[in-house]
């Protein structure tokens, strides 16, 4: 495996960048030269060795630094992690799923040994060696959901299923694209999606909810979502808008390649066995414009997608003011030639 974990920052001096290998495994979300909402759900089964879709929970070169950033966010604002009382069982489900998945998928990095309810978890990249009793909260330093999501990249919404709806009743949310767990906690699927334009009228949420309610054990699903982020900020939360919102100003053609990032969320959905909860991991991947255009197909296509994106979407995604400048920068990388189908880079 041999992941070279980087020591980098997602705040202040922003030393984050992607290695060339990491660029080529970036989950570029556009399979054609235009974009519109769709439910775009597919089974979360392993495809393309080395890609972010190979394992149930992708671990990459940013792992250790992302976990350090999460700990800093939580120290400043403990409400980024909440779990209503009836969701503790779902937390144990999640802990088991992640420990099993990581120890099976990355045996050189993680190990889980079980003797009945006596569990022993080793996380080598983070230097953690923990013995605990499964289902006994007193034996862990945090509740089960918080414990394991402090060691797993991506945000986690833990959804209770009842009354033919999903309820945001627990979560760990520190790397979000401008939404707040503290605001959404206890809301149902339609309530927390209320701010999204167009999709309600298109009936997308009714169809998406029906699909999600029927996700079954042993058959996880995934989809991608995307937005744009200025500076490699993991924490673009409403709580901290006063800190990152101002950073959207001051973009120039000179600093665009380094400061502007495409932010892609790999969203997955797992049905939990004991609690019947639906786990919704939202894993954010960032790529600088300079990095993105090292794949010529992506540079051409991304220019066309942004150029033709409806105004409401550019507004909702928060880059309407910067769009003209981004397009001017990207146009240099679009020679007008056709792009090949699918998301993957062309062979070099």
């Amino acid at each position: 495996m041999g992941i070279n974990f980087k020591d980098e920052t997602f705040r202040d001096d922003f030393t984050f960048f992607n290695s060339p290998e990491q660029i080529r495994r970036f989950p570029f979300p556009f399979h054609e030269d235009s974009y519109m909402y769709s439910v775009n759900m597919e089974p979360h089964t392993p495809v393309v060795p080395g890609s972010v879709y190979e394992n149930r929970f992708d671990v990459d070169e940013h792992y250790v630094s992302e976990m350090r950033d999460r700990a800093m966010v939580l120290a400043d604002d403990p409400l980024r992690c909440q779990s209503l009382p009836h969701m503790t069982l779902a937390g144990w489900d999640l802990l088991e799923l992640i420990m099993e998945a990581k120890s099976e998928d990355y045996p050189d990095l993680f190990s889980l040994t079980r003797d009945g309810n006596k569990w022993h978890w080793i996380n080598k990249p983070m230097g953690i060696d923990q013995k605990f009793v499964f289902m006994d909260e007193a034996t862990l330093p945090y509740g089960p959901m918080e414990y394991i999501t402090r060691q797993t990249q991506g945000d986690f919404a833990v959804l209770d299923q009842r009354d033919d709806n999903l309820w945001m009743d627990a979560g760990m949310v520190t790397t979000q694209a401008d939404w707040s767990l503290d605001f959404d906690i206890g809301m149902n699927f339609f309530e927390w999606h209320a701010p999204v334009p167009k999709a309600h009228e298109m009936g997308i949420f009714v169809r998406a909810l029906k699909f999600l309610l029927n996700i079954q054990q042993g058959a996880p699903a995934r989809r991608l979502n995307w937005t744009m982020t200025v500076n490699p900020l993991l924490d673009t939360s409403p709580e901290n808008y006063h800190k990152w919102g101002v950073q959207k100003k001051g973009l120039t053609l000179e600093n665009m390649g380094q400061k502007m990032h495409l932010r892609v969320e790999l969203q997955t959905f797992f049905r939990m066995p004991r609690s019947n909860a639906l786990i919704f991991p939202i894993r954010a991947y960032l790529i600088k414009m300079d990095e993105l255009v090292t794949v010529p197909k992506w540079g051409r296509r991304f220019h066309r997608v942004l150029r033709d994106l409806p105004e409401e979407l550019a507004t909702y995604k928060g880059f309407i003011d910067n769009r003209p400048k981004i397009l001017e920068w990207l146009s240099k990388y679009d020679d007008g030639t056709p792009t090949s189908p699918g998301v993957w880079p062309d062979p070099e």
Partner: protein, 321 residues
């Protein structure tokens, strides 16, 4: 996305007669590995090759949800039915290899409840057996009221009263005992949730009583599996797959679609979950709708059908499948 759920290969390790009508089956994984955990109230879909007709029947899991060594189900023999329960009773023997689905829960506990009031009639006891084991290990507060025909036909009555003497109340029909429902529902503490599983008449009785007493809809849960009705054979055109299929007398429309090799979605196979909802492109005849999913207007519209339980009589039926 493929139809239904992920499958598990199992071996029947025990077949136990519970009483004259009910037999219990125990399944372990054929490869010896652990079965998935499940949540109380979940069912599994058992695949049967009934002399060339493939049947997929849902049965509630009744074993301890935390027990990964085996799943158990209890099947009530239905001599008038289409043959699924008869197949289980007459043909399934220890050592036989079968295929079941991953657990699916359409009747979960609401874990916010301060108290779980469980109302069972007859074979409707099975999902509660698993829920009670789950609640007992998590210190959940529950009370079971269970109606059976007689001592001889009261499945698991002795086990329940033996293990949970303070939580279980049994009512014998042949001794003219009945749940005093109005008083029972009227005297529950705030935060109680009601769960009912049994014959349709019992489910309607409980839901109506709860509604008339002002219970919130969200606090009243029910599970009713309809067995697909038999009926006259009919012909269907599947337009997307460009096939004409015949639905046999004792076959459901969904089973006939599957037998033709067409991948159709499903979950409950009992007219409740909505997953198999199918668009009607054209028809000349009469629908026999048997589901709980579509509204009365949708039933009347002639635009949708639930192929797991509903049938058709007439000249032509064209489906978008």
């Amino acid at each position: 996305m493929s139809a239904g759920t992920a499958k598990i290969n199992v071996t029947v390790t025990d077949v136990t007669k519970v009483n004259d009508l009910v037999t219990r089956f125990r399944f372990a994984r054929t490869d010896g590995g652990p079965l998935p955990h499940f949540s109380g109230g979940a069912h599994t879909v058992v695949e049967m090759d009934d002399n060339g007709t493939i049947r997929l029947n849902p049965y509630s899991l009744m074993s301890d949800p935390a027990d990964q060594t085996a799943y158990t189900i209890s099947v009530r023999r239905d001599d008038e039915g289409r043959g699924g329960s008869l197949f289980m009773h007459n043909h399934v023997k220890p050592g036989m290899e079968m295929v079941i689905s991953n657990p699916v829960n359409l009747f979960p506990l609401d874990l916010r409840a301060r108290k779980h009031l469980l109302l069972a009639g007859g074979i409707g006891i099975t999902p509660f057996l698993a829920q009670i084991k789950q609640l007992a290990t998590s210190n959940g507060h529950f009370e079971l009221h269970y109606s059976v025909r007689s001592k001889l036909l009261g499945s698991y009555v002795n086990e329940l009263t033996g293990h949970y003497p303070n939580n279980v109340h049994i009512y014998f029909d042949d001794q003219k005992q009945a749940i005093d429902l109005e008083n029972l529902l009227d005297g529950q503490p705030l935060g109680t949730h009601i769960y009912v599983c049994g014959p349709k008449g019992m489910i309607d009785w409980v839901r109506n009583m709860a509604e008339s007493l002002g219970w919130p809809r969200e606090a009243v849960h029910h599970e009713e599996f309809l067995a697909p009705a038999s009926g006259k054979p009919f012909e269907v055109k599947l337009s997307r797959s460009n096939k004409v299929i015949k639905v046999g007398e004792h076959q459901s429309l969904l089973e006939a679609i599957e037998a033709a090799g067409v991948d159709a979605p499903y979950l409950c196979r009992g007219g409740a979950c909505g997953q198999c909802e199918t668009e009607v492109i054209g028809y000349d005849g009469k629908f026999l709708h048997n589901d709980h999913w579509l509204t009365d207007e949708e039933h009347a519209s002639g635009k949708k059908i639930m192929p797991c339980v509903s049938r058709f009589e007439g000249k032509t039926l064209v489906l978008d499948r």
